[in-house]
């Protein structure tokens, strides 16, 4: 079975700016694939190249194994949900959704049936005759999704479609998008700058920065094994980054650390500048800790209670500030500012990554 989408050395410039710099990746059939990166990283350009709305300067784009680099948009059979949704304001809900089927000259009876099914899938039954401006933001979102799904595209592209919604609806829509994707069994490529969205929905994520793809992998893999410090800090709530070097296998030394800490490190990263990345939720805090690879004396510098967890900043070593998330399970995890504590973690909790 050929891959749903394949990009081979795709490059796209806008004048001096290089939006896509030699991009190659494949998206498997029925996969939920996310392009994740900060604004201006080129992710939308990549999406527009796949849709044929942007022509790459060089490189090849394949859909289901077929080279479509020179095929115009309307013959590619891709769906695209736009950031501003781009609904047709002069048509009602039914005509919006039916547009793609009418273009394909599907018989009227079948159009009615398929639009109805699609509205049912997203829970908008009975709203066929409504005008677009009579719908709420979440409903418009669903109409846009229906409109691009109903012609059965080979791949559905989504360009930050949840951007305009408020946070609560946004979180609900992420779960729902994932459900819909599973139900219709289609390939989705989702562009977002919101790492939570990407982690929740995706089978695999491609992290982009400066027009390049920096890492491709499953959510957990990218979260726990980021390939560089940019990805480490971009993915997740927060991360502790400590600069230093591994002079011998298994030991990391840093200027701000009073003694070496135990780590796992690849041979090729020995004796080069590296960073140690440590997630705040992997660190334990107590008055006295035992049975951990690394235990450091520390002092609480700031404490924020966030309901589900405490967010502490502790000072250790030589002016080293470490962020720690501790689940709130009672008074044992509650500390005050200036309390003397110990922090600790095992070597599997850390990743050594090259600088830059």
């Amino acid at each position: 079975m050929p891959d749903a989408v394949e990009l081979i050395h795709v490059t796209k410039r806008f004048g001096e700016v290089i939006a896509n710099d030699d991009i190659s990746f494949t998206v498997r059939k029925n996969e939920f694939f996310s392009l994740l990166g900060p604004s201006g990283c080129g992710k939308t350009t990549t999406l527009r190249c796949i849709a044929g709305l942007q022509e790459p300067d060089s490189g090849i784009i394949k859909l289901s194994g077929k080279d479509v680099t020179d095929v115009p948009t309307h013959k590619r059979n891709v769906g695209l949900v736009f950031q501003d949704l781009a609904l047709f304001s002069h048509m009602n809900v039914f005509d919006n959704i039916a547009f793609g089927l009418k273009m394909k000259k599907v018989p009227k009876k079948e159009i009615e049936k398929r639009v109805k099914e699609m509205l049912k899938l997203v829970g908008l039954e009975g709203l066929e005759k409504r005008r677009i401006h009579q719908l709420s933001g979440g409903q418009q979102q669903r109409v846009a999704l229906c409109r691009s799904l109903v012609p059965e595209p080979d791949v559905l592209l989504l360009d930050e479609p949840l951007g305009a919604l408020d946070l609560k609806i946004r979180r609900r829509m992420t779960v729902e998008l994932r459900r819909i994707q599973k139900e219709v069994g289609k390939t989705f490529i989702y562009v977002t700058h919101d790492q939570t969205e990407a982690i929740v929905m995706s089978d695999r994520i491609a992290v982009m920065q400066g027009g390049k793809i920096k890492q491709i992998g499953e959510s957990r893999e990218i979260y726990s094994h980021p390939k560089n410090s940019f990805i480490a800090s971009f993915i997740g709530e927060a991360v502790n980054i400590i600069k230093g070097v591994c002079e011998e296998p298994g030991a990391f030394v840093g200027k701000k650390l009073e003694k070496p800490v135990k780590v796992e490190v690849r041979e090729d990263l020995l004796n080069t500048p590296v960073v140690l990345s440590l997630r705040p939720e992997r660190i334990r805090v107590a008055r006295k800790l035992r049975n951990l690879d690394n235990i450091l004396d520390a002092r609480i510098n700031s404490a924020l209670f966030k309901g589900m967890y405490h967010e502490y900043e502790v000072e250790t070593g030589r002016d080293l500030m470490i962020k720690v998330f501790v689940p709130y399970v009672g008074p044992a995890t509650t500390f005050q500012i200036h309390d003397n504590v110990q922090i600790g973690w095992n070597k599997e909790d850390t990743v050594i990554i090259p600088t830059s």
Binding site: L53, T73, H74, R147
Partner: protein
Amino acid sequence: MKIFDRILKSFTFFILILMYLPIVIMIFFSFNSTKSLVRFTGFSFRWYSELFQDKIVWGALYNSITVAVAVTVISVVLALLMANAMVRYEYKGGSLIDAFIYIPIVIPEITESLALLIFLGVIGFPKGFWSVVLGHATFGATFAVVVLRARIAGFRKSVEEAARTLGADEIQTFFRITLPILMPGIIAAALLVFTLSFDDFIKTSFTRGVGFQTLPLVIYSSAKRGGVSPGLNALSTFSFGVSLLFSAVRLFTLRRARYE
């Protein structure tokens, strides 16, 4: 501040009366059964039926309408292209060109008309129907740009792109998406231009050829010749009615478009 409020209200009322009373009187006496403009002697359509038996009036009405239609078509097509270019593309000296397009609104029509008259003479353009159309189109296109520009500025390109991803080619996209979305703006612009052309007097009197009459010119020349008469009242009322109708339709379409 109740007193102040009341003064303001009466003042507004007074201005409105000042503006509309003469028109109301004119319309009122156009239905008078006798020639008197002082005493209303009875209701009749006499002056209207006389009016529509007048060959000169018919000819002028025909000219007014054909000129206005031609001006509307030319202005709206030109304005569509101009407004598109102004909104969608950035080009060098863009703001200067913008300014030049709007200038015809502020320069005195009589100056513009005189300049056009001289210009037509220099290039040897024959005076008649087309010279009048040309004259009207210079302000028609300008006003149409003003109306259309707002509509096109609110137009999102992603809507066209969405149609393309749904399988529509360029031509289908234009006729099913772009044109329908711009339609309220096009209609509003067309009605405005039609009204302006239909009412125009100065441009027409400068650019028309000998014997080419439009309705405003007939009204003017008969007023000059025989003074004010009920027949003239009827003609003016008719002309006023046409303009009013078009303005009303324009306001209505604009209001509806606002909901989309």
